[in-house]
């Protein structure tokens, strides 16, 4: 059993990798699950919300801060914030725009459900290829598109030297991984409190439980929906930034596709519509994916995630923690 001993050898490092990746999936999954809660709709364009944050990070580092070498101390802190905050803002703006232009007109008309899904996939396609066209050589009728993205992957400048912070079970934790896990934990905590303790959060839960009744009780549904999209966008934006930071992958117009599907899998795994479920599901999926590396080989991780999705749908379609949102 060669692959089993492989698995035992790599257990702790893969647990670490799984937790890092899983916390990023959890953050993206929140966007899916919250939108599902209030609209009963899978937001296919959510992966593009994630994608746009990677380009925002690239743009911030390459064109605003002109990062050439990794920084340290206060400079690093400024750089991290300078990458994170614009990424979150732009993603949230995009998410709200998607809601405004791709969903709201359909919602007003009371269109059948299929229309929403098709409109979402169209919006996703449109945004992807908008970024492909942004290579500085194309223009739309009235104005030239800026040179931000383009068809090939764009390397994001490294802002941070990797170093080991501490070691557990002979497994070194790098500073980047620590930042990702801590930042994700903090944001998930804040989000949880937001949904459970603020007035707006109560509105979101009310709409998720029964939209009609909520509107009769004075909840402004349109506002709740916009806020939901914005919050999902903020989370996806932060996730995109952290993804780039920890994996060091280049920004790419297609980068959102696989994390998007996996985050959706995570949301289903935890019980779609269930916010805490999405967090648990994200971590779990990250772990499953990481453990599949020593078991089946790195080229099969994406397939593993997909098989998990089908198995969950087959045996427990309501997810681990159930589907309810309002609770």
């Amino acid at each position: 059993m060669e692959f089993f001993s492989n698995f035992v050898d790599q257990f702790w490092p893969q647990t670490r990798n799984g937790l890092t990746l899983g916390s990023i999936y959890a953050m993206i999954a929140l966007g899916y699950t919250m939108v599902y809660g209030v609209l009963q709709l899978i937001n296919f364009a959510h992966s593009e919300v994630f994608m746009v944050s990677t380009f925002t990070t690239l743009f911030a580092y390459r064109d605003w801060f002109n990062v050439v070498a990794p920084a340290s101390g206060v400079g690093l802190l400024v750089l991290l914030m300078g990458g994170l905050i614009p990424a979150m803002i732009f993603s949230a703006v995009l998410a709200v725009l998607i809601e405004r232009f791709a969903y709201r007109p359909l919602r007003k008309r009371g269109a059948p459900r299929l229309s929403f899904l098709i409109s979402a996939i169209g919006a996703s396609f449109f945004i992807q290829y908008l970024f492909v066209l942004m290579d500085g050589q194309h223009s739309l009728i009235f104005f030239d598109l800026p040179n931000i993205a383009g068809p090939s992957p764009q390397t994001v400048p490294t802002v941070m030297e990797t170093s080991t912070v501490f070691t557990v079970f002979d497994t070194p934790f790098s500073n980047k991984r620590v930042i990702v896990i801590l930042a994700a934990a903090l944001m998930l905590f804040v989000l949880d409190r937001f949904v459970r303790q603020t007035k707006m959060g109560r509105g979101i839960r009310a709409v998720a439980q029964d939209a009609e009744a909520a509107s009769m009780m004075g909840v402004d549904i349109n506002r709740v929906i916009v806020v939901t999209f914005a919050v999902g966008g903020l989370m996806a934006g932060a996730a995109g930034f952290l993804y780039i930071l920890v994996l060091g992958v280049p920004a790419f117009w297609f980068i959102g596709f696989l994390p998007g599907i996996k985050a959706f899998t995570a949301a289903v795994l935890g019980g779609i519509g269930n916010i805490r479920g999405a967090m648990v599901g994200g971590l779990l999926l990250g772990l499953v994916e990481a453990y599949s590396v020593p078991l089946f080989g790195a080229e099969w991780t994406d397939v593993t995630a997909f098989v998990v999705l089908v198995l969950v749908l087959l045996f427990r379609p309501t997810g681990i923690m159930g589907e309810e949102v309002g609770s």
């Binding site: 609209l39 009963q40 709709l41 899978i42 296919f44 232009f101 791709a102 007109p105 359909l106 919602r107 007003k108 009371g110 269109a111 059948p112 459900r113 299929l114 229309s115 929403f116 899904l117 098709i118 409109s119 996939i121 169209g122 919006a123 996703s124 396609f125 449109f126 945004i127 992807q128 290829y129 492909v132 066209l133 194309h138 939209a211 009609e212 509107s215 009769m216 009780m217 004075g218 909840v219 402004d220 549904i221 349109n222 506002r223 929906i225 596709f257 696989l258 599907i261 959706f264 289903v268 080229e299 099969w300 994406d302 397939v303 997909f306 999705l309 089908v310 749908l313 087959l314 379609p317």
Partner: protein, 433 residues
């Protein structure tokens, strides 16, 4: 009601504005307004739905309408005749350039290879139209079945083993390929695609419709990754080469298909499209077609009336899958070389955009949609880079402004414009106003 008792009169809204906290009245008033709103909306909806339907029932006036009515009256022989004429015209299109001087942008479109590509995608669109348009299921993984068909052809003809042998330098004695089997392989690919569709569909079709969308989206990518990883079976990233061109060799007849540009591929695909149109039309007017309508309009009611929901959805999904599988075989034969990057998600979305632009649930719509998506970029070659961008935008705009498509089917138009009673999202336009 307020006039009946003096006590209640005290609590009219005008009194509330005097400064008394009046929470109860506020939500009661809102409740009443909301109910009135809903009633009004229901009436307008009904009226709208009726007008859409009654347009089709208007009395026959004008010569054109009379002709149309005449054609409908004798549909038994007029419809096949029209179909035959259309096929004949379509089959002769590649020769148009020889007969008359066409401007460059037209002759690009009427070249055999462009038309073959159009016919291939028309076939895919017809298949997807059954899934999306007839059964109302969103399938975003059509390309997976296309890939399955193509790889079935690549492996079953022996082209794959031949490619492997050539790579390892042991081609001596390796039999290249079995060209005569192509027609059997067409059936084999059909079976493979149907089996794959049933395996994928049976767990997901029981669930909410949106799950199918994301599962198929993932499946498309998984098939591509798998084809890329399984070096031994699919040739991995190097793909499969030397897939034979089809040939008919029976008695005195010997028809051989040649290279990529051979116009015979267009005719082969056109034949398949014609066969598919006939089959799908028959299906649409059969028990199965009516079951699909019932499911689309109200799934719960359909189930209550004894329509086997999952079976019918599975049937639609399998038909979509086998169409893509057959198309995949012809594609592999024509191009002669297949590799994983061809079968990416973009293709699925393109096929979906054909169905959406043409008109969901409309057979001529699917073909026109394919013509728009395949042939328009061919006409405007300078703007090729923009085509995916434009089609993405077109999908969204179609959904907002013309959900029934360019060439709508009557029944589907009424459904898409009016509100279907089944699955629908609630309308939040009233909220908070």
């Amino acid at each position: 009601m307020a006039e009946e008792t003096p006590v209640k009169q005290d609590r009219t809204p005008s009194d509330d504005e005097a400064g008394r906290p009046a929470r109860k009245q506020t939500w009661q008033r809102r409740w009443r307004e909301r109910k009135a709103d809903l009633r009004e909306k229901r009436i307008t909806q009904t009226v709208r739905l009726r007008t859409t339907i009654s347009k089709d029932l208007q009395p026959v006036t004008g010569p054109l309408a009379k002709l149309r009515a005449k054609i409908e009256e004798h549909r038994k022989w007029t419809h096949p005749l029209i179909g035959f004429l259309l096929i004949a015209v379509a089959a002769l299109l590649p020769y148009l350039d020889d007969w008359m001087d066409l401007p460059l942008w037209v002759s690009r479109v009427t070249s055999g290879s462009a038309l073959a590509r159009f016919a291939l995608f028309a076939l895919f669109a017809l298949g997807l139209n059954v899934v999306v348009g007839f059964a109302g299921l969103l399938d975003l993984g059509d390309v997976a079945f296309w890939a399955l068909g193509a790889y079935t052809a690549g492996i079953a003809t022996g082209a794959h083993s031949f490619t492997q042998a050539r790579i390892s330098g042991t081609e001596e004695g390796a039999e290249p390929v079995f060209a005569m089997w192509m027609w059997g392989i067409l059936l084999l690919a059909l079976a493979v695609a149907v089996v794959a569709g049933v395996i994928l569909g049976s767990p997901t079709l029981r669930l909410r419709g949106d799950y199918l969308a994301i599962v198929t989206l993932g499946f498309g990518e998984i098939i591509r990754i798998t084809a890329n990883n399984l070096d031994g079976i699919t040739g991995g990233p190097r793909g499969v080469r030397n897939i034979p061109h089809p040939r008919i060799e029976a008695g005195g007849i010997n028809v051989e298909w040649g290279t990529l540009l051979d116009v015979k591929y267009y005719w082969l695909l056109l034949t398949l499209v014609a066969l598919w149109v006939i089959a799908i039309r028959l299906l649409d007017h059969s028990r199965i077609g009516r079951a699909w309508v019932a499911i689309r309009e109200d799934e719960v009611a359909a189930a209550a009336m004894g329509v086997p929901i999952v079976k019918m959805k599975l049937a639609a999904f399998a038909i979509g899958a086998c169409t893509a599988g057959v198309g995949g075989v012809v594609y592999a034969e024509q191009v002669g070389f297949i590799s994983p990057p061809t079968f990416n998600v973009v293709q699925s979305i393109l096929i979906l955009s054909m169905v959406v632009i043409g008109g969901m649930g409309s057979i001529p719509g699917a073909i026109v949609g394919a013509a728009i998506v395949v042939l328009l970029p061919e006409m405007f070659r300078g703007l090729e880079d923009y085509r995916f961008f434009v089609f993405g935008l077109a999908i969204v705009l179609m959904m907002i402004f013309r959900p029934q498509g360019v060439l709508p089917s009557k029944r589907r138009k009424a459904e898409l414009l009016g509100e279907s009673q089944g699955e629908q999202l609630y309308d939040a336009s009233h909220a908070g106003s």
